[in-house]
């Protein structure tokens, strides 16, 4: 502390005279009649003194709450089909070989420093991410019409994009599919947009309510923002066909609506990076504008590193430049600049031909294992003669299956079979293995066959 010589009286004199003035003044400020008590007390402040006394405890996050309950269960046959993180056949988290390689490279490079990234993040990472999602030969990239900023995984990309729209776009309503990832409405609401829903899932067919979707987007205002899951819809696993995507694109463009893609599973859905980006690329190919939130949480297994990117495809390079400058104003007061570690790993992999190829192989292996689990579960239910049509299990795609089980059935499965899943009937296929499929099939069979 630097000593200051601001006045002649001692500090304690000044405090005492301030106190005397204060207590003799009729309009004494402070905490009402409790002033002298609070001045006299030392280390604890009395109940009711906190300005946050009224803060109530928030409810548990429904998805993460599943894992909490799972962890508490002592049963040896318990199964966690809640959160969407990939698990191996042995039920273990997986760090890709290619990620470990990249990590080692970073460690061994003593020239690496930990300086702040620019506000927009690691520039090389941004360029490579844009190429990954739009295709290296995308006209939008070649014409410099894309601005890409590194963000905190998919969530962060959605939030930054949403805040940008709330400030700079003329329509402040975003249409999101029903159902959708539980965090979507919160992200956009806090970003300053209002949220409306369009029909998406048809419980009767356990597939796409395509008519409902077209009707709802058809009656949504001109220019509205529309959230689209690029592939492997979360939580249903139901994706439009290529033909249906084309109709969606035509409708959206004809109503001058603005597409905002959430791409959390590129490569993870079909096992093919290009195929999983097709919906986005068809929109970019028509020359129009869109936003894309990309996540590397699942497809590179970088979950906790929070690596993602927001791209905005604009009509001209000049516009893209101005848009980027405004994105920086959103980011700076949120967290200044994004974390360097995960983006460095991604850049190391994407820029190196061998590592990239190895990544595509490991990615396909994850996607294939999940597809295999789908088939095994479907076969197991058929073998048990479980009533109902379970073909949606193999028709749906990506990490999740929307089983169609209701919350009572789910509760039954948790209680009697120690199966942990969200009450909407969603199961994470990544949490299954060949060994545990029979147990799950038994549980589903029992839940469905029992007299309600």
């Amino acid at each position: 502390m630097n000593p200051r010589d601001s006045s002649s009286s001692s500090p304690s004199d000044r405090r005492l005279s301030a106190l005397a003035r204060h207590l003799s003044s009729p309009s004494a400020g402070g905490v009402g009649g409790g002033v002298s008590r609070s001045l006299a007390s030392s280390s604890s402040f009395a109940r009711g003194d906190s300005v946050f006394s009224h803060v109530a405890r928030a409810p548990e996050d429904p998805i993460l709450g599943v894992t909490v309950a799972f962890n508490k269960d002592p049963s040896p046959v318990k199964l966690n089909l809640g959160v969407g993180a990939y698990r191996t056949e042995e039920g273990k988290p997986l760090v890709l070989n290619v990620v470990r390689q990249a990590e080692q490279q970073l460690i061994n490079d003593r020239a690496r420093v930990k300086e702040y990234l620019p506000i927009v993040g690691l520039v090389e990472f941004n360029k490579l991410s844009a190429k990954l999602i739009f295709g290296a030969d995308s006209p939008a990239i070649l014409e410099n019409r894309v601005t890409t900023v590194q963000c905190l995984s998919g969530t962060g990309s959605l939030r930054v994009g949403g805040e940008f729209l709330a400030r700079h776009y003329h329509q402040h309503t975003i249409y999101i599919p029903k159902p959708t990832w539980g965090n979507h409405p919160k992200v956009f609401t806090l970003a300053g947009l209002s949220v409306k829903y369009y029909r998406y899932y048809d419980p009767a067919t356990r597939g796409l309510d395509f008519q409902g979707l077209l009707e709802d987007l058809g009656s949504a205002p001109l220019g509205a923002v529309v959230l689209l899951h690029a592939c492997a819809h979360n939580p249903t696993g139901v994706d439009p066909t290529i033909q249906q995507w084309e109709q969606i694109r035509q409708l959206i463009r004809s109503r001058r609506q603005l597409p905002f893609f959430d791409s959390a599973y590129q490569g993870f859905a079909s096992g093919n990076l290009d195929a999983d980006a097709q919906s986005i690329r068809s929109f970019v190919a028509d020359g129009g504008e869109c936003l894309v939130a990309q996540s590397y949480a699942k497809n590179m297994g970088l979950y906790g590193e929070r690596v993602g990117a927001l791209s905005i495809v604009c009509r001209t390079a000049d516009v893209a430049g101005r848009v980027e400058s405004q994105l920086k104003l959103v980011i700076r007061p949120m967290y200044s600049n994004p974390p360097i570690h995960g983006a460095s790993i991604v850049a190391a992999i994407l820029r190196d031909r061998e590592m990239y190829n190895e990544w595509t192989i490991e990615l396909k292996a994850m996607a294939d294992r999940i597809i295999s689990m789908r088939h095994q579960l479907f076969d197991a239910l058929r073998a048990r003669g479980t009533p109902g049509d379970w073909s949606h299990i193999i028709k749906q795609i990506g990490m999740f299956t929307f089983t169609g089980l209701n919350s009572q059935q789910v509760a039954f499965m948790t209680k009697e079979y120690h199966i942990y899943m969200t009450s909407d009937g969603r199961i994470s296929m990544a949490g299954l293995s060949s060994k545990t499929v029979p147990h799950l099939a038994d549980a589903i069979h029992a839940a469905v066959a029992r007299a309600v």
């Binding site: 502390m1 200051r4 280390s43 604890s44 402040f45 946050f52 930990k114 028509d286 929070r306 920086k328």
Partner: protein, 426 residues
């Protein structure tokens, strides 16, 4: 066949030239204005673009060694060696790494803090100091919607952006006294007294950014007292613990005074500078509550604000911190390395002042050694700063703030000479 015809037809209708295609549409972003460059980060951009071999960057507040190079602490390198290959990368909880947060609270509140023992602190891992401030600002908006934040003049420019984006009305309080290049204590106290009861006050815990002017211990006690009388809420931004004096305990003195005086406080902590983890974005937001129950409630609400912003915080930097602070040897190494950094800066302050005095500058430069931390508020005008940049290729922010971390034995003479040249006729 029919499908192909359909596709062909729709291709023609919806191809590049069609009305429903995009060519006829203009951009939604036509009217988006180019945003002004960030005043601080824009300086480094300009520096990097300058080809002059004499250029000096005393702009952004990132530590440099005496060769002007960024530093990765040895304790950090060792921690990373231990982490690589050994940890999975699963999601952290919304509130971040529990271990990292525990260690971080000890630094701020004290190793044996009763508040930690009584579990009265609601704390979450945050995206460095910026993220911690923003999370608090959002929390303040949601749960004290009628409150306003008082921000010192001057302050780190981004503080204004943070509370503005959180939609919290802001006011300012006097802080820097240009004539003495010290603290405007009387005016500060008046502002505290005149603010409506229950206002929120942003305080820099140590090494004020950008001025380097800190209250003395006595002054802190008076500020604490007056804030208590008015029922204000003190929020500390502590970005330089350990980095100011070289001793983390000493740099936490202001906070400890407020705790002794019975305030309920909030703190934003950052490891960007004191552990050199800048780009890793590691920090912590804590709010001291009445009891454990309230702390649980407040923490749950902080998590509700973090979830729609980034879901959960990045794991790598947190692992580095908890590895270091959780290992007595590494922690001891860290404390040594922090002191080295702080001492180098104190040494450069002395050197810069002595150089200016030796050059016979007509002005007083004692504030260079009286101020503390990474920054020196030189007192130069924007025009003088522009001249420094144009004629001498010296880069700093136009408020005259010099980042002492950018000063080296190699450039201090050049810097002193340049400063003397542009100021001697003023």
């Amino acid at each position: 066949m029919a499908a192909a015809v359909r596709a062909g037809v729709s291709g023609r209708i919806l191809g590049r030239g069609s009305a429903v295609g995009a060519r006829s549409m203009s951009s939604w972003w036509r009217s988006v204005e180019p945003a002004p460059k960030d005043p601080i980060l824009g300086v480094t951009e300009a520096f990097l673009a300058d080809p002059s071999p004499d250029k000096v960057n005393v702009g952004v507040g990132a530590y440099r060694d005496d060769n002007g190079k960024p530093v990765v602490l040895e304790c950090v390198r060792e921690a990373e060696r231990r982490i690589a290959g050994n940890q999975n990368m699963e999601y952290l909880p919304m509130g971040g790494s529990v271990k990292m947060v525990e260690e971080t609270l000890k630094l701020a509140y004290g190793e044996d803090s009763e508040f930690i023992k009584d579990k009265r602190i609601a704390a979450v891992q945050a995206l460095s100091g910026t993220g911690a401030c923003r999370l608090f600002a959002d929390f303040q908006k949601r749960f004290s919607p009628d409150s306003q934040i008082y921000i010192p003049v001057p302050t780190w420019a981004n503080h204004h952006n943070i509370w503005r984006d959180a939609h919290v009305p802001q006011r300012t309080y006097h802080y820097y006294h240009p004539e003495s290049k010290g603290l405007d204590f009387a005016a500060l106290m008046d502002d505290v007294k005149n603010a409506p009861n229950g206002s929120f006050f942003l305080l820099h815990a140590c090494a004020h950014n950008p001025t380097g002017v800190d209250p003395s211990e006595d002054q802190w006690r008076e500020i604490s007292y007056q804030i208590k009388v008015k029922g204000h809420f003190p929020f500390f931004d502590m970005a330089y613990q350990g980095f100011a004096s070289g001793d983390p305990e000493r740099d936490a003195k202001a906070i400890r005074i407020f705790l002794e005086d019975g305030h309920a406080i909030g703190i934003a902590q950052s490891y960007a500078k004191n552990m050199g983890l800048y780009g890793q974005r590691v920090g912590c937001l804590s709010v001291l509550c009445e009891d454990e129950k309230q702390a649980i409630a407040v923490k749950s609400q902080l998590q509700q604000l973090a979830r729609p912003m980034y879901s959960n915080p990045p794991v790598h930097g947190a692992l580095v911190v908890s590895t270091i602070l959780g290992d007595p040897e590494l922690k001891s190494l860290w404390l040594k390395e922090v002191k080295v950094m702080a001492d180098r800066i104190i040494g450069m302050r002395t050197a810069l002042r002595e150089n200016l005095e030796k050059l016979g500058s007509p002005l007083s430069w004692k504030h260079i050694t009286e101020q503390i931390g990474m920054f020196c508020y030189s007192g130069m005008t924007p025009e003088q700063v522009d001249q420094l940049t144009k004629e001498y290729h010296i880069y700093l922010t136009r408020n005259g703030r010099i980042s002492m971390a950018g000063v080296t034995t190699g450039n201090v003479g050049y810097l002193a000479n340049a400063i003397n040249e542009v100021t001697k006729s003023s």
